[in-house]
Symmetry: D2
Subunit: 480 residues, 4 copies
């Protein structure tokens, strides 16, 4: 679901990851385009606005890079023919979501560019916070920009550093010194595949293997999709380089402090992914358990708001002993391209997306688990649907703390005044959404979701940014 | 999911409903196209190949019927502009699935036709078994046919009967005398909306109301989608006629024996629908309970194959006390239009659609509930996926009896020799799919799914056809 | 050019032929779809709104007819793949133009239908004047209609007659007894190709041959396009039947009076076609010569309005001795799908289509030849363009008499009050269009265009209809 | 016609111009997108592969540039909606043809880029010969390239020069010092419109005016299309800058030697255009006259191969007194997107495009004028068509000298060995094409086409390149 054709506030009242990346190197010289295609399918939830693939044939003449990109979902942009044309045994892929202003063809990735040493293809997940400064510096030495994405700035830096140093991987490392913010990168030169993760490790990136093939992907579920075995995560600050000799790692850019995005576990990532050695599914079960401990309530059923609330609901049920149930039926045909008719009808677009199983909830006291509340409109409607279907009580439990601060590191959590929690107490929010009680996950217990690890970013809940954010919100300005 | 772009046997190894119908009459003269659009969205699972809407303005000149039809999903065929053009306060809609041979533009519905008394629009769910004879009789009196669907035969009969009688609803009744087989019809004349259901009641049809608006729909969940309240089901053999004076019922065509399709409850219908006063969700819970009673096994977890196996898994859990769990993550982006790349890769198309939550199943003895086994290939792969993810045992339970006979009444259950149960014992099937044990729902207990009612058709399991089927399988022949 | 996306009155100020037909029978069993495709390309000027092809394999099982139809030009509707799928050694094709109301998918041709004796495909050029009566009669015996074209009525009659008689060609003849109006038909049964022309011969139809292949086509230029040799015209009232034994002719339906459309020669047909043994090009040269005799004027140059005015201009030049010149450049990229921007600009859409060669006309006295004047707006603009470019005098000569009456026989010449000549004298028209003088071809001399033959229809100029036209203009009504 | 979907050698046997440019500045603040749209229509013959428009609103915030580009013809890429979105009173447009390798979305123009001083949009007609060197130099200072067109190199140079100088127009001039080759540029900064032409003036560029609006265009016929009056040509080496104060000219880059492409007059440009004060139509008339003087022959008719041969044929007729005639009918529906069916048929694709008027040529001795012979295949077929239609003699006259050398300055005249004249004498060519005689325009008399002016480039005929061409053919290499 994205914001291109919003049904209404129900559907647009969501937080989005901004990208997913995938890279692959087949040592046997076999084409990899279809594997990238499958991998991007598995990462589609990280970006539904545009996608692209670039490949290179390591046995061909230097620079024989082919690419295909477009606006839309993976299965809209690619055809069997376009995949067939993408000959090459090494490649990178990208799925992208973006805020409205920059939703255009120019901004699709992977960026494919020629520079002094040949061709480079770059796929980027994350967000720089010093993109404006870097862009200005580059412009003052004669750079021209044909997109409005910060990834182009990264590409420029790498190209410039390459002039001073002997290899692409060195150039990437040197560029990383100048980059500030979130970036998980997959980069292809005609003969090499490089993966890099910013020192804070905001966004995930992992390594897999299938026979004579190495794979890099934002999430481990994308490895499953290509039958690759999970090897390990790329560590924060690590640069891995895969060439015909194998895989090489450089961790010289690592730093003590890491700040992995905790919301990847709560909502963004697929439950069947494992990020930095932690199962996303288990972290959600744990969130539900903690909610049951901290916000217990007497009720008949625990239900999750599909799909992300289900695991936490299961966890709440485990901990509380209250029966888990399925209360909602989701219409999977109402997709990204759902078009709202001009003739309006009360609430239909919510109903068409989600319906309540009346027989399940009628006469029952319900604990409803959701992953977050942004503006509150969706929660209010879903609570109302449950009550209309005969639920006698609806107790809402949220598997994350309240959103209070914008995110500058690769998601679109908005500025405070668009967030219901910014101006309302929990009691007020409870009233707005019409619930009988409301409980959030406590900030104090977030680390339990990832096994007690403290190296995570919770700035959207606490305002404690791992890197000083820019004074003014530059996220929109960058586009200009 | 349909068979137009099959991923592979996993996805095509499914049984399909052949159609869904929707009708609406707004007494306040307001446009109904967007309501039909929402209604068809809710019925999309009943047919993903083509769809259409026809409307009439009861205040306009007689015969001002407008229609729009096309190949594809509801959100592919309709745009805000095409809906805007469909002015009219009375209308019918249709979604269609078909076997490959007849998948073309000519066969889309609603059929819109002119005859001696003006315009008629007809939407049909079901299958006639005497279509060939009727067609031949009509041809011998000079009829020409421009489609290969039996619905055109129904339209002809109504047009001919209308010559002899005083109203469309009488003509429908008189035509019903000649029709043999399954049909739930929604018919629009310029000033009337008519619903009719064959005397056996093979396919469902229900009536709803929203303020000054009457609605007819294949399933009650489509009423929810337009905020209409469920009034009652159209009874087998009943004809309802809605005009400016209200709703009128004629049950003179009813007969003692009814034969509602039991597989609607097990698989076809949405769980949030209520068909002939029975909740589909509850009937699935019951199927799970019966399986737990008849095929108990010691295990750690009960899991459902999404989406249709989940409710039965819940029922098995309730009855057995064994923990219910979610073992699979479904990729909702792999839709109808998923294109399989020409370059092949082992099993990826299954993996891309369904992934296992390894942390859930690892080291566990699993009871896996699915709704049916057609050829066995899908079951075999899913069992293997669970074992590869670490499940120590996989016990398969099927919430229906084995398929043994073809269906002639509106679904595509194939002839016996394409069905694994036709030539294999349960033990053999168990071996083929690699399960540790296998249990089917017993035919004897099917009636418990619908509260003990005996008026259902179980011919695909038993061969006891409510109407004598044609000597040779005419389903394909008709198309020629 | 058609009326779907009219640029403005310049482009829509044209008269349209309503259809072109093509048929082919290859005795060697080779596929004919690509030949039909080429043939329809050559007939594209007779209809740009929709087109279609139906083929049959005479060696296959009876009734294996395949067809492909769609809205748009031949090169928009067909792809190499769709042609590839059309296996068959016998086939018919159709191009269609229509008035706005009936411009939809249902009305595309060839009509493909099943009836008591199998499959029939029918392509029709012309217009019946008793379609409404026939339709009503058919409806009263239970016929249903799924299109709004009179060709469906013809199909019905043939199907009904076939019940009483022993062959399709007999059924066609019997149906012809009941049909009144204009029709050139190409009909395909699974093993036969039939051509028929109404007794008046309003619309052309000819026979060609290439090796072991017979071809039927609206114009002889379509024979050239498939390298076939012109054999002869199908005569008015003749039915030809081609089967595996060869070609058979039946002229029993012929009648003394024929009424070939004279405007085919003046404007509709291609100049490289030969209709009923008369070269279209020569008839236009003759029209120019007559204009030079009857409306001489002292001038420097004779120019034609492209493309149809050029030949007549050449003829005027031959007769008068005045220099022929090219004064206009036509932009061939402004096609059927030209989209007029919403932001307006004075007259640009004329300019974009036609520009004047200033160096040619500057300071010159010009005789400008065009084929007709409908509303006068186009002529006015072109005269103005010439004067703005420096022409000192512009004398307009029209190679047809003034339009005064509507056509009921297959073109869209409108009713009188939309025709400038209906309410204006020649002097008044001359003033409206800003010409220095204006001369029309005289009705008396029309027969000279076709070698003195008197068997033509000039009803749009004279009101002398060969068949009594319906009392009210039924052309639009039929659509309802 | 371009080479994307070649019908066969007939259609691909053509020489192509590589681009057309258009710019406009409306001082009244009115939107200009629709005017650019009309202008590009008039220039469509200069490039049919892709097109684009970029506009800026001078009253808006700096940098509010909007653009829309795409693959295809002007009427395929733009819709009323996309034009509506292009708000702005200043804008540039581009149509492009390219050789196959670089036919992709990235290479569409105008290039829109951000640099240190804001936004720049650039449209380029021509070809640099030092693009490779410049690109390498830029790469060695850290430039990255996202397209494979030399226009990106120009954009880079301007951006770099802008760092050192005070205005865009100065930067353009400074960049011109480094550029070698052919370029007519239209450049838009947010508040200025700039036109520039290389010092040799290879490609045309002119200035027009309509009320308070200035227009720049490749050809004067594009001024006609927007009702603008021709003011003057941009001179070779001139830079014009239009801002809110009016139009300013800088001719400091001019040099004594100019080298306007003579083939623009013979073939590329529209006959209704006037380039550098010479009417294209008149220059073609003159070419025909010279051919009549230098290659006289006794014959009955002079005919032109449409469309470009017609004017020269007229000139031949004037000079020789032999009757001019139209011998060919061109099918205007066989456009850029003509798809050749896989099933082949002898010669049909020529026939479908061009047919002979048999009545005109039968028994006649014909002089056939064409603009050029590339490989000879087309000429051979057309001569054969004339003879098959009954011409007793066919004398071919070519209104240009034989092609012998490749063009490096903005057209696709190929290398010598693909040119029939490279390895054959005139007598041999005459034999190959089956003509009774053959005569080319003499190189000596080329200057008469443009009034005796010697400042033209005839390198494709003579090998006398105005600038030393690169040692190896870099035209394809650049793409890599």
């Amino acid at each position: 679901m994205n914001n291109i054709n919003p049904v209404d506030s129900y559907i647009s009242d969501e937080i989005h990851e901004e990208c997913g990346v995938f890279g692959i190197y087949n040592f046997d010289g076999k084409d990899v385009a279809s594997s990238i295609y499958y991998g991007l399918f598995a990462l589609q939830h990280r970006g539904q606005e545009s996608c692209g693939i670039a490949v290179s044939d390591t046995s061909g003449p230097k620079g024989s890079v082919r690419s295909h990109k477009g606006m839309g979902l993976v299965n809209e942009v690619f055809t069997p023919e376009s995949l067939e044309d993408l000959h090459g045994n090494i490649g990178v892929g990208h799925v992208r979501y973006s805020t409205a202003g920059a939703s255009n063809r120019e901004n699709t990735q992977p960026l494919v560019l020629n520079y002094v040493k040949g061709t480079l293809a770059l796929a980027h997940n994350g967000n720089l916070i010093n993109a404006m400064e870097l862009k200005e510096q580059l412009a003052y030495t004669g750079a021209i920009f044909q997109t409005t994405i910060d990834s182009e700035v990264i590409a420029y830096l790498i190209a410039r550093e390459r002039l001073q140093t002997g290899s692409v991987e060195e150039a990437v490392k040197n560029a990383m010194v100048k980059l500030s913010g979130a970036y998980s990168l997959v980069i292809m030169s005609p003969r090499k595949l490089i993966g890099a993760r910013d020192p804070f490790g905001f966004r995930p990136l992992c390594i897999g293997r299938r026979d004579n093939t190495y794979v890099l992907a934002s999430e481990s579920s994308a490895l499953d999709a290509v039958d690759a075995e999970f090897i390990r995560d790329v560590e924060p600050g690590e640069v891995v380089m895969i060439n015909e000799k194998g895989i090489h790692s450089d961790k010289s850019m690592a730093q003590p402090k890491v700040a992995k995005c905790i919301f990847e576990y709560i909502y963004f990532a697929r439950p069947d992914s494992c990020l930095d050695s932690v199962s996303v599914y288990n972290s959600r079960i744990m969130a539900g358990r903690i909610l049951a401990q901290t916000h217990p309530v007497d009720a008949d059923l625990v239900v999750g708001v599909p799909d992300s609330g289900n695991a936490a609901a299961m966890g709440y049920s485990f901990e509380s002993g209250i029966q888990y149930a399925t209360a909602f039926v989701k219409n999977s045909y109402v997709g990204r391209t759902f078009i709202k008719p001009k003739q309006s009808m009360r609430e239909s677009s919510v109903r068409i997306k989600l319906n309540v199983l009346k027989d399940v909830v009628k006469g029952k006291r319900i604990i409803m688990i959701d992953d977050s509340i942004v503006r509150g409109t969706t929660s209010e409607r879903i609570v109302r649907m449950l009550k209309n279907a005969g639920a006698t009580e609806v107790h809402v439990r949220i598997s994350s703390p309240p959103f209070l601060h914008p995110c500058y590191f690769g998601t679109d959590v908005p500025t405070g005044d668009q967030l219901i929690a910014h101006n309302n107490t929990v009691e007020q929010i409870c009233e707005v959404i019409g619930a009988d009680s409301l409980g959030y996950l406590s900030v104090d217990r977030l680390s339990e979701l990832i096994g007690g690890d403290k190296g995570f970013c919770d700035a959207c809940f606490t305002g404690n940014y791992p890197i000083e954010p820019p004074k003014e919100d530059i996220r929109g300005d960058y586009e200009k």
